[in-house]
């Protein structure tokens, strides 16, 4: 170090940002022109950073020593040595299982909708097409269909045994158009889906039993069902 004690003091103040604008400008001119002063400035800058590292390393050692003197940190069972949860295998496995169960559940639900109740299944398997479809299910290009669009939809749903979907449509026909056939089909649909009390209520209703043909059908179905 070739600079005087006074110049070293000036360089220190410069590095710490404590010079006035005038003093700073004057020193910068000297640094540009005096090689020894400039060399001391460069060295001082590096040495000060070296001192900083040394202090910080000492503080880190002190904290490590402190850590050794206190009870250790309890490991976090859930997260220890594992990536964030959304990146973990568990997360993806749970996701796949949930999606699989949702698809399976939806499929079961869909299948069950058109399934007959356990009690009515044998009866419907044997006799439904022959005895429970009372409207014409044959379509012809040259014969006009006498059914309305709403009736066709509701009756067709009934005919293909989609009872859950058919019931609200048949109910509409009964309520709005007073369609006795729809009301009868609704009773049969309730029977098929296991709602026996509602089925019996409809099939023994005056609207049905006042029609001899429907009464005979309803009586025979209920009698057979009760066997």
């Amino acid at each position: 170090m070739k600079s005087s004690q006074e110049d070293i003091g000036l360089l220190e103040a410069y590095l710490k940002g404590r010079l006035s604008p005038e003093e700073k400008s004057a020193l910068e001119v000297r640094l540009a022109n005096e090689a020894d002063l400039n060399s001391d400035y460069s060295d001082l800058k590096v040495l000060l950073e070296g001192m900083r590292i040394s202090v910080l390393e000492n503080k880190l050692d002190m904290l490590k020593g402190l850590e050794n003197s206190i009870p250790p940190v309890a490991p976090n069972e859930n997260k220890n040595d594992s990536p964030p949860f959304f990146l973990s295998k568990k997360f993806w496995m749970a996701g796949i299982i949930i999606i699989f169960l949702a698809i399976f559940g939806w499929w079961i639900f869909k299948e069950n909708k058109s399934h007959l109740s356990e009690e009515s299944a044998p009866l419907f398997a044997e006799k439904f097409d022959r005895e429970f479809i009372l409207h014409s299910i044959e379509r012809s290009a040259d014969v006009l269909d006498s059914l309305t669009v709403e009736q066709k939809i509701a009756y067709d749903l009934y005919a293909i045994q989609e009872f859950e979907d058919a019931i609200p449509k048949l109910n509409q026909l009964w309520k709005i158009q007073n369609d006795t056939m729809a009301y009868f089909y609704m009773g049969i649909s309730y029977l098929a889906t296991g709602n026996t009390s509602e089925a019996e209520k409809i099939l023994s209703d005056n609207a049905i039993i006042s029609n001899a043909y429907l009464k005979q059908k309803a009586d025979s179905i209920l009698a057979e069902y009760k066997k």
Binding site: M1, L47, G50, I53, S54, N76, N80, P84
Partner: protein, 184 residues
Amino acid sequence: MDWILKIKTDDNQALREIYDLCREECIAWLQNDFGLSVHDALDVFQVSVVILYDNVMTGKLSTLTSNIKTYLKGIAKNKALEMLRSRKNRIIANKYPVMAQYVFEENEKVIFEEQLSTALMSLEFLGDPCKSLLQLYYYNDLSMENITSIMGYKNTDTTKNQKYKCLKRLQNIYSEHINKIASN
């Protein structure tokens, strides 16, 4: 609690208190939010406390606008991400001590790593009492009166002379080493 004043006046005690206050919460947070192991979380936490200290001492942090834990978590978050990034990119652990690496990165455009590691080595070579005297003056920014009292010197003139001599000795050691490196 004025943590900045506390760090400036009684640094070791302040660091111990901050360490105790934030340790459990910060380490659990580092494990939960960044998936760090206890060991890594502890490393990141300790380095973060030291960086907090450095920020106060170098004047980067002059007023604490948030809670001390929040400020510390801000540093720890950056350090944790840095650690995860270097693992992802398979960066080999640096040959220098962790705090040296931190200062290197801050100075990389101005000072070479080799110069800083030589300065650090020269300081170790210089030893005490010179090393402590220079650190108290340059890093801790203590007054000559305070240093005189801490070091047990007769008066401030003695301290000033001693500081100048120590700096000269340090620079000689440093120049010798750096010239050797240059000639190789």
